[in-house]
């Protein structure tokens, strides 16, 4: 062996020996009983002002409500995919009672980890695990985002047809997706159906950014849409979708936010943008997580099954904040309420993109393309 090898090996060995003696307990290793230890693994980063921020906010809600009865922690795993599985495995080894993950990408990892850790509880949101694998310790939360998008589609169409100052006569609205994947297309399907509900001849410009974090690209695509006559657009692209809100400000057009109430995020730092966000399609990841913990506390959490949360369970919704009130005229607000009611009652049934193949989605996209 060459001496080149000696130094690094020597360093590793000596450091390892030095620390071998003083290995402590892991951080979560505080063993006082009665405290429910909850960890939330985000496979992205905070600051997207939508999905993951909402998820992280769920931990705050739980902490606010249960205070010292719970110990919560949110771990950002970033968009560094190879790091996700090791993190999940590490966390599963630690002393956590409930482990929360989200998005479809975590599903298959979770299925294995949950099977290997039957004594732990797992919550997964925005997707579900395969329960044929006998996963009695996993609770899956799905959201009927298609229903909320339906309302957004209806609202957008109503707005573009109205005589509001920032709209144009074209009957054209926009949809800006992160990626061409089922969860995003589920928004699209609802959006399209809602739009057609108000006007069957409506045209929708659909673009995908191809990323959930490239805000610059998001903005460019939104600008392209706006410059082709779109006067209200809907972004479903996590952090990348923020680009659309910026584009709306540049072009002075309307936007619809997603997942979190995106107007709220901008009230402080950038009111001009907030003023243009007609509403946001809310995916209440935060509330759904609180709800899950509530049920867990009461011992009623439906582990071993999945739930689809809609308007009734406050799983999804439409942000009706001050900006909504300011932008949307009263008759359209009434229309929105009416449609919401019809969805709740089941009078309107919204299709879902889950299970649709690429062909069907393409057909739908082509049918409404300008």
């Amino acid at each position: 062996m060459n001496r080149f090898y000696a130094i690094p090996i020597f360093i590793l060995a000596s450091v390892a020996m030095f620390f071998a003696g003083c290995r402590g307990k892991t951080e979560a290793g505080t063993d006082d009983d009665g405290v429910l230890k909850i960890v939330n693994l985000i496979n992205g980063t905070r600051g997207d002002k939508s999905f993951f921020d909402s998820s992280a906010a769920g931990m705050d809600l739980i902490e606010a409500k249960y205070d010292s009865a719970v110990l919560t922690k949110t771990i950002e795993m970033s968009y560094d995919q190879p790091n996700w599985e090791p993190t999940l495995l590490d966390i599963a080894d630690q002393d956590w009672d409930i482990i929360i993950v989200g998005t479809w990408q975590m599903t298959e990892m979770l299925e294995e980890v949950a099977r290997d850790n039957p004594d732990k509880r797992f919550i997964i949101y925005d997707t579900e695990v395969d329960y044929s694998l006998d996963l009695g310790n996993v609770y899956s939360i799905l959201y009927s985002q298609n229903e909320a998008s339906f309302v957004a589609g209806a609202l957008a169409t109503a707005l573009t047809k109205s005589n509001l100052p920032l709209t144009n006569p074209d009957k054209l609205i926009g949809f800006l997706g992160g990626m061409d994947i089922p969860v995003i297309n589920d928004f699209l399907v609802g959006y399209v159906e809602g739009a057609r509900y108000v006007d069957p001849d409506i045209k929708i410009a659909v673009s995908y950014i191809g990323s959930f974090d490239d805000t610059a690209k998001g903005k460019e695509m939104a600008l392209a849409q706006y410059s082709q006559g779109v006067d209200i657009g809907f972004n479903v692209a996590g952090q990348a979708g923020l680009g659309q809100l910026d584009a709306a400000k540049d072009m002075h057009r309307y936007a619809i936010g997603v997942d979190s109430d995106q107007a709220e995020f901008f009230v402080q730092t950038d009111k001009a943008t907030a003023d243009l966000i007609a509403t946001s399609v809310l995916k209440h990841v935060d509330k759904s997580l609180l709800r899950a913990i509530d049920m867990h506390m009461e011992g009623k959490a439906p582990y071993g099954s999945s739930e689809i949360l809609g308007f009734d369970e406050e799983g999804v919704g439409i942000a009706k904040n001050e900006f909504y009130m300011a932008i949307v005229p009263e008759e359209i607000r009434e229309l929105v309420d009416e449609i919401e009611e019809k969805i709740r009652s089941g009078e309107i049934e919204v299709s879902s993109a889950f299970g649709m193949d690429s062909e069907a989605i393409n057909e739908l996209r082509y049918s409404i393309s300008p």
Partner: protein, 316 residues
Amino acid sequence: MNAVFEIVLNPLFAFSVLRVSTPILFAALGALISDKAGVINIALEGIMLISALAGVIFSAISGSAFFGLFMALFFGGLVAFGLGYVSLKLKTDVILAGIAINLIASGGTVFVLFLLTGDKGISSSLASKLLPKIDIPILKSIPILGPILSGHNILTYFAFISVFLVWFLLYRTPLGLRIRAVGENEHAVDSVGISVVKTRFIALIISGVMAGFGGAYMTMGYISWFSRDMTAGRGFIALAAESMGGATPLGSMLSSLLFGFFDALSNSLQLLKIPYEFVSMLPYVATVVGLVIYTTQKTKRMHRMRIKAESKKEVL
């Protein structure tokens, strides 16, 4: 096909070509200056990223967009100085040093962002400022030209003015003479008592400041916040644009515009029935093709000249 023409002929499309080209043009001019001095600056990507973050942070702290711009330029120059230091003083290979700086920029900006805001993704919690847009009084009201040329960010105008400034610098000033001389034969410069290292340092710093403009534009004009790795290869594309433009200011401008054209097209073409992945690939393919066409033409031209010369003599 008609739909494509419709998109391209829309004045708003031309407007967006100018907008998209701006950061690439800045970086390409940066690449040009360092190239003329005989240094390949592949750290442009990282410099833009660092400047972009600096612009956001300092405009948020000071509340002044122009102070943000100033700091973005300062950091652009500073990082370029660092590149100069390691490549000219420590004699690191300049390409490797560039790779290193890009790496440091990519991780370091997220790191700093996290320390400041707690977010790793985006700086939207900082109330950063935007550089103003400018409406050009008379031009504004001219149809077609007005919507294309008026209402851009101040830096977009400056980018195109810079093309002239960089040309002037290189071909009309003593410094430009020295920069060109140092790139062509450093010994010549050395032997007349001008410091090669110092001249390259100056060229690199100017190059960094140009990239700094590009970075500042990214966060204070193009969009209004910083997000991780937001330059998305623009620094590299600028290098390609500069070499495609035959290492001249005007050529760099034209090839930056070409790239901007394809980039803008890729954003609009999605609305047609073309898979988005194909469309997203377009600008990069165009760059490679452009580069190849440029170099092919160059070799062909030389080849033609040669054949001509040989045959001419033969006839005589």
